[in-house]
Amino acid sequence: MNLFYDTLFNGLAIGSVLVLAALGLAVVFGLMGVINMAHGELMMLGAYTTFVVQNVFKAVLPESVFPIYILVAIPFAFLVSGLAGLLLEKTVVRRLYGRPLETLLATWGVSLILQQFVRSVSSAFAIGLLLAVAIGLFLPRLLVRVQLAPRWAGLKGTISWISAGLVGIGVASLLGEERSLDQPWFSARNLDVTAPSWLRGSIELGGVTMPTARLFIIALTILALWGVTWFLQKSVWGIRIRAVTQNRSMSDCLGIPTETVDALTFLIGSGLAGVAGVAVTLLGSVGPNLGGNYIVDCFMVVVLGGVGKLLGTVLAALGIGVISYVVGSGSLLLIWPAMPAGLNELITFFATTSMAKVLVFALIVLFLQVRPAGLFPPKGRMVEA
């Protein structure tokens, strides 16, 4: 029986990562109706941030404070992914508002860019990029005095960005001559984040072995859920976000700055992806393709959970996580060796990670036939209205 609880516990930990990852996606999807294909890559940025924070702690700070690096990495990952998400909203998503298919395609493109970014970023690359962004943003301000005929006025921005890009590429390739600056920051292979010693052991409780790293993930998830719920239910911006989610145009008419609400929500949703990235580093190695492994599962969670209900997201994520782990790890056979022959073969058939995923998808498809609006469809008088 203990094996059963062990398996369940591990499944719960996997599900918790999925909760963290899908939470941000669900909040953004509920508000803006936008599926952000780059959400998984924002997770990856969070994981890489953890790696960087770990290295900074190793290199600069005394060894005695190393164990707390993971706690420091959480706010940093939130910030890095959140700001990346904010940039994505301001530059891409906002311009495609009300066009979900184009948004899907554009954010997918962004996800590819981000993947390549972590593969090829070097000091020279980063300096060139920062320079290009700075020039692109500030050149138009310097050009304010230059008067152009009205029909050419729009060109000013384009010209600034093109010249900024050229300067950036030029500087980057010049600096790249220097070997030390041309060295990529992260190798293209997967990196391993060393968990601090207090997260490497395990706790025995009533015969169940619980690895502390997984306990930490579950605690982090609960904390994040509590934080998001508090923010949405109690804070001023939370009321605004809920209002815009339910009725955008009326909220606008009431005086709610909807664009700020969109930007803030995207920042928070992306930041949560970053926190999920920190959790992922405790489960395995970190690589540029990390995001792709999670994004499909996250979509499933959002679809299954229904829009606008956090509880739906939580239950859907835990369900998907637990089922795919319990079935995929093959431990069902170990728990129940005396299984009848037919069932036995069926379970063995699905007892690999990829086949477990097939089973979960099949179950979701079946479930959506019965309840197309997900686990918690909206109820009550307003549905008819």
Binding site: A243, D252, T258, M382, A385
Partner: protein, 235 residues
Amino acid sequence: MAVLDVRGLNAYYGQSHILRDVDLTVRPGQMVCLIGRNGVGKTTLLKTVIGLLQQRSGSLELLGESITGLPPHQRARRGIAYVPQGREIIPQLTVRENLLLGLEALPGGLARQRHIDPLVFELFPVLEGFLNRRGGDLSGGQQQQLAIARALLGKPKLLLLDEPTEGIQPSVVLDIERAVRRIIASTGISVLLVEQHLHFVRQADWYYAMQKGGMVASGPTAELSKEVVDRFLSV
């Protein structure tokens, strides 16, 4: 100075020309009623004033300042409150939260303002008992009262009311009429009203009649003849 001054307004839905050279003026403390049959552009005019629809040409001035091109939330903060057809209560928020959202139009918004003026409970006593219910669970009449109360909490200078009595039981219609009259008397705000209910139309100071997207008649409601009523109010 007029509270609202509309000059030569033209508005389109896609390719179809809805408002044609509309002129309209609302003076301080005045209640102005727009009448006209279904589909002549009354709702479109209100939507253009609040900013849900941007005009193709013409000018919109609120208290002498142009509001052309501003998004709805900035117009709300400058003093226009909008009660749309169908009420548009935020369904999953409680009645209290819906009322709080009315404070967003005040300076500083919800972050600074947390006080719900008890006047709204005096005007609509039914709301006080339902503060913790979800807005979407109220009946149509109660939602209408909530929508008007929410609009008033932002202390607007101009209140836009789109068919406030549509589909509501007669006793509540009288409540709403009484409340609107009391609001004007006590706060001095101006009201631009779209209404089919003749009794309510008669409460207004001035009427504008619309036909095919343009203004075809206007004058004091006291002079609203039976002939005009028959022509412009749907039966």
